[in-house]
């Protein structure tokens, strides 16, 4: 046991060095809430400027640890000989990002058994992703889009998807990762979404059916 080390990002967020991205995100949220400068927990213990500097350190720790590349470099720096609980994390981070680049097919759309004319929507996205040998987890880790949203995008569960403006960003990121035409994906997917949306209000405002 030792006194807390202000430079240890894991200790700052109070997470284990083997923590997953999700653990880190949750821990960061929890600490931000706890050390809210206007909150009661810090009252009488920290000066206002001290809380602000703590919150800055928390953000710094979060930004470092949530980025797989930065996190790997940081881990190597603070645990050069490898932390016992770090090995899991190393395997996890090492296994995910570098591989797909090498194995990405020249034309993912053709490799997925589609033509360039076929619309890029939910099921075709799944095919392309599989042709690229990418899992949803890998996409989630790289793009920071939640697993739930990614699943909904592929399953075309439009009712569970966020607004159009967010969808544009998500789809662009996915297109970039799968190396497909982003404009075409946006056009195809968003028009499918609009089609679904236009079918909603009529149903919603239907008067009570008469017997």
């Amino acid at each position: 046991m030792s006194l807390p080390n202000e430079n240890d990002y894991y200790a700052l967020l109070e997470v284990d060095p083997g923590a997953t991205d999700e653990d880190i995100r949750r821990a960061y949220k929890r600490q931000l809430k706890r050390f809210d400068p206007a909150g009661v927990v810090v009252y009488g213990l920290y000066r206002a400027d001290e809380v602000q500097s703590l919150v800055r350190s928390l953000r710094e720790a979060y930004e470092m640890l949530v980025d797989p590349e930065k996190r790997r470099r940081y881990d190597r720096r603070i645990y050069p000989e490898g932390h016992p609980s770090l090995r899991r994390a190393d395997q996890r981070v090492a296994a995910a990002p570098p591989m797909p680049r090498a194995s990405l097919p020249a034309d993912p759309v053709l490799a997925a058994g589609l033509t360039h004319d076929s619309p890029l929507r939910g099921t075709s996205l799944t095919k392309v992703r599989e042709a690229c040998h990418l899992s949803l987890e890998e996409i989630a880790e790289r793009t920071k889009i939640s697993m739930f949203t990614l699943r909904c995008i592929e399953a075309e569960q439009f009712q569970d998807l966020p607004a159009r403006v967010y969808m544009r960003g998500f789809l662009k990121q996915i297109a970039e990762m799968l190396r497909i035409d982003a404009d075409k994906l946006l056009r195809d997917y968003l028009s499918a979404m609009e089609e679904w949306q236009s079918s909603i209000p009529q149903r919603k405002w239907d008067p009570i059916p008469k017997e």
């Binding site: 046991m1 927990v41 009488g44």
Partner: protein
């Protein structure tokens, strides 16, 4: 785990050897009205770890925070709970601001007369709560602010009484007598209410206790640390972590001693009268904040829900644990009691 099963098959009476655990069914319910205790038995189910050092009393103290944190109620009912386990318990009232444990235990107050105020106070009073293995030790009259002699005398009396457990309400001030009692207890509890003033007072008390532990006395580490702090004119050394770092160069032994004192200081944090989820989460938040700010390992003892029944039972002047054994508050107190007793065992096994 009980080492002393009382089978009775061989017809011999079992030896009254100390036990590691208490089997609840064996707890003597006392000889009062059986209906009064009937409702309480289920809430005592399960075994409790027991710190068993022959001849040594377990000392548990409650201190600090702010008035109205519910210290007296917690102390009185913890006493009732432990005595229900068949142990001999002393509760001691050392709160100069509001000495009223007797109210929560259903005992008579000591009423002064004009004449008694003119004479020197007699010895501290010790009264048994009828039907229970529980005694209250209190000053013979209310403690005037600054009357340390009367408090010290009551404290000495409480410590000298034979019992298994001594539970003390120290009040909320942070004077040397209180701090020393707080620092030397087997388990020291800081009770507070989840509001800014309560939290601030609680931190102020922990700060005073920590500083006394680190810096008070004539031993080398304290003397060296005081000298180093006195030389720090800009207030750079604003946490024990910084103090230890500053000492480690020229005074490695003092640095190590101070570090050990910081790490072995672990007050229990209890937040009482919680009404929201955020209130309940404050215990962990404060423990985390204390670790970051001063490097101390506080224990998250309990978050106890606000309970209207407490108000009613106080008005009836009956121990809460007996009146409302099934209430949230009684269950919260029971969880608190189990953790406290377990922590005294852990502390012992750590050596």
């Amino acid at each position: 785990m009980a080492r002393n099963p009382r089978s009775g098959d061989d017809g011999s009476e079992p030896e009254p050897t100390p036990e590691d655990t208490i089997d609840v069914e064996e707890a003597e319910p006392g000889d009062e009205d059986p209906e009064a205790v009937a409702g309480e038995v289920p809430s005592l189910a399960g075994e409790i770890l027991w710190h068993d050092e022959p001849g040594e009393k377990i000392v548990i103290v409650f201190a600090g925070g702010k008035g109205g944190a519910g210290r007296s109620l917690l102390v009185a009912n913890l006493g009732v709970f432990v005595s229900r386990l068949g142990r001999e318990v002393i509760v001691a009232d050392l709160d100069p601001a509001g000495a009223n444990l007797h109210t929560y235990l259903g005992l008579e107050p000591i009423l002064p007369t004009p004449g008694s105020m003119l004479r020197p106070p007699g010895p501290p009073r010790v009264d048994r709560v009828p039907g229970m293995s529980l005694r209250l030790c209190r000053p013979p009259r209310s403690i005037e602010p600054g009357d340390d002699a009367l408090r010290a005398e009551t404290l000495t009396m409480a410590q000298s009484l034979e019992a298994d457990v001594l539970i003390m309400d120290l009040g909320l001030q942070a004077d040397p007598l209180t701090l020393d009692a707080f620092l030397s207890a087997h388990a020291a509890v800081l009770a507070l209410v989840p509001e800014p003033a309560g939290v601030e007072r609680a931190y102020a008390f922990v700060r005073a206790a920590l500083f006394r532990r680190l810096l008070h006395g004539d031993d080398d580490p304290a003397v060296v640390a005081r000298a180093v702090l006195a030389a720090d004119h800009v207030g750079q050394l604003n946490s024990p972590t910084h103090l230890v770092a500053a000492l480690s160069g020229a005074h490695p032994d003092a640095a190590e001693a101070i570090r050990a004192r910081v790490l072995s200081f672990s007050p229990h944090i209890l937040v009482n009268k919680c009404r929201t989820r955020a209130d309940m989460e404050m215990v962990d938040g404060m423990v985390s904040a204390l670790r970051r700010r001063w490097g101390i390992n506080a224990e998250p003892l309990a978050a106890i829900e606000y309970d209207d029944a407490a108000w009613t039972s106080t008005r009836q002047r009956r121990p809460f644990m007996l009146e409302y054994p099934g209430s949230n508050l009684a269950q919260g107190i029971e969880r608190m009691a189990r953790r406290l007793l377990a922590s005294t065992v852990r502390r012992e096994s750590r050596g």
